[in-house]
């Protein structure tokens, strides 16, 4: 992914910043500029999420995506934030620890890099929230 394309959404990725529709009180992460429920009647504001959430479903990836070979096997999951929205992230732990319903909290981690000398991307991954499991 190009530097500009990553940089554009850097705040959203680093700080879990999404959006909130004031009309229907729905939270969006990844951010949306148009509320799918209200469309033109929506009133969108920026919203910073608290962070904690729960694993909705997951997989352990053995055949890695390009650029993720060093991380395999890794746990990819759909996570539901406490405010409601769902998104895709990795759960960093021993893969056998991951399960549906597992409580997780965010950590700042390297996501990947473009080539040997290319840019390194950072962002939010998740770890088990052992105080809440």
């Amino acid at each position: 992914m190009s530097v500009a394309r990553f940089w554009r959404k850097q705040i959203n990725r680093y700080n879990i910043v999404g959006t909130h529709c004031k009309t229907c009180d729905t939270h969006y992460y990844p951010p949306r500029n148009v509320c799918p429920k209200c469309r033109r009647d929506g009133d969108i504001e920026s919203y910073k999420f608290a962070g904690p959430g729960e694993v909705v479903t997951y997989t352990i990836i053995h055949t890695a995506a390009e650029g993720f070979e060093m991380q395999a096997p890794y746990a990819l999951a759909i996570i539901e934030l406490d405010e409601g929205p769902r998104f895709t992230s990795q759960v960093v732990c021993d893969p056998v620890e991951v399960s549906i319903g597992l409580r997780v909290k965010p950590v700042f981690r390297k996501l990947g890099e473009s080539g040997d000398k290319g840019m390194i991307y950072y962002g939010t991954k998740y770890v088990p929230d052992n105080d809440r499991n």
Binding site: M1, R5, K9, P30, V56, T57, Y58, T59, I60, I61, H62, T63, A64, A65, E66, F68, Q71, Y74, L76, A77, I78, R86, F87, T88, S89, Q90, I100, L111, G112, Y121, G123
Partner: protein, 390 residues
């Protein structure tokens, strides 16, 4: 709207074809379909070609023009040719555009084709190209692969309904058996449930034998207004419905992870259009890009209650001779999955079945057939219904 019929069909062989180029295979399919229809190429009013990613697989865009040119339909005839893209549903979309062109009266004789040449790049590069069918900025960036996304659907299905790895494997076993009777199939070997369970894990719970492969292949068919179809063929196959639906691009935004709402919506629209119900369908080609996808498809299209697709497969009800034969071609799993071609290949298979031309894998007395083609992890679905009688 006018009724529309299929008057000619052709699939190339599916598989790894190192000695043949993108344009070689698509021209073979196109010329084959025209020959089968008995028309001559200059009579075509238009062409619609499904192709997911010529740009990434063979560094070629402007596919429509290339194909018209190498089919000999450009230099003197200047026949319009349109490329259509919806990831793995590109072929299904091309068909729907072609049907609408004929139904509206805008064009009479029209070709719908699909093509993908996937083995000219490494399998890592092919997987990266396929991953572009998901949300690059919010799924791909986290290390999501296509097997990974469908694996998350499978985990959810297992959690909600108790579906087992053995039931997933039963889909692959059946489809390899059907593929063994299909001369064009990429894999013609028989496999067992144990073979699947002991094959390498790609994305838990999906093994390599739960996945469709990387494939080269092309398919084409010719459409005509139903009123004149008999001028060209004794066995026109009629298009009773063509329906399409959209859902969220990312899997994480779906209403229910284990249901493809786009399949449900496209299926409903197709049944309404054809004035039919699942009980009227004699066979169906579904989009089994992964074994779990076939289980979801037979549920989402109404052939079995949600959650019971695994059991239905294990019980043999989806085999040839069963209650509703599913993927007589071998499906994406065994016949192969050249992504842009798959939607058209499904229609070619059902047309041949309804004509009674399917040899050892023929479904006895097949009158009505369905095809179901999905893009990405379920963001696009196309469902078509074909019938032997108008």
């Amino acid at each position: 709207m006018r009724d529309v019929a299929i008057i000619g069909v052709k699939n190339t062989n599916f598989g790894e074809m190192w000695d043949r180029s993108f344009r070689d295979i698509v021209v073979e399919a196109g010329v084959g379909a025209i020959e089968d229809s008995g028309i001559s190429g200059e009579k075509l009013d238009g062409m619609y070609v499904g192709n997911m990613s010529g740009g990434q697989f063979v560094e070629q865009e402007h596919i429509g023009a290339l194909i018209a040119d190498y089919s000999g339909l450009s230099l003197d005839l200047h026949i319009p040719s349109t490329r259509v893209e919806a990831a793995c549903a590109s072929g299904g979309l091309a068909f729907r555009q072609a049907v609408m062109a004929v139904a509206s009266g805008h064009e009479d004789l029209v070709m719908a084709a699909g093509v993908e040449k996937m083995t000219d790049v490494s399998s890592t590069a092919a997987s990266a190209a396929l991953a572009a069918a998901a949300d690059r900025e919010w799924e791909g960036i986290m290390g999501a692969t296509f097997p990974g996304l469908y694996a998350m659907i499978a985990k959810m299905h297992m959690h909600q309904y108790g579906t087992t790895s053995e039931q997933l494997a039963a889909v692959a076993v059946k489809n390899h058996k059907n593929g063994s009777m299909n001369p064009i199939a990429q894999y013609k070997n028989l496999i067992t449930v144990d073979n699947v369970l002991n094959s390498i894990m790609v994305a838990d719970p999906l093994h390599i034998f739960d996945c469709s492969p990387i494939t080269d292949g092309a398919s084409a068919l010719v459409l005509a207004p139903a009123d004149i179809a008999h001028e060209y063929t004794d066995t026109p196959i009629y298009v009773k419905a063509t329906a399409q639906a959209s859902d969220t691009i990312a899997l994480h935004d779906r209403r229910d992870i284990a249901t493809l709402d786009a399949s449900v919506a496209a299926g409903k629209r197709a049944y309404e259009m054809a004035k039919m119900t699942p009980a009227d369908i004699d066979l169906v080609e579904v989009h089994d890009c992964f074994t779990i996808a076939e289980i979801c498809a037979i549920e989402d299209l109404g052939f079995v209650k949600k959650g019971l697709g695994g059991k239905m497969t294990e019980d043999g009800e989806t085999a040839i001779g069963g209650k509703i034969p599913v993927n007589t071609s071998g499906g994406l799993k065994a016949c192969g999955h050249p992504v842009g071609a798959t939607g058209i290949k499904q229609l070619v298979e059902v047309t041949q079945q309804l004509r009674g031309d399917s040899g050892p894998r023929q479904v006895d007395g097949a009158e009505v057939g369905m095809t179901h083609n999905v893009g990405g992890s379920g963001a696009t679905a196309v469902v078509n219904i074909l019938a032997r009688k108008r």
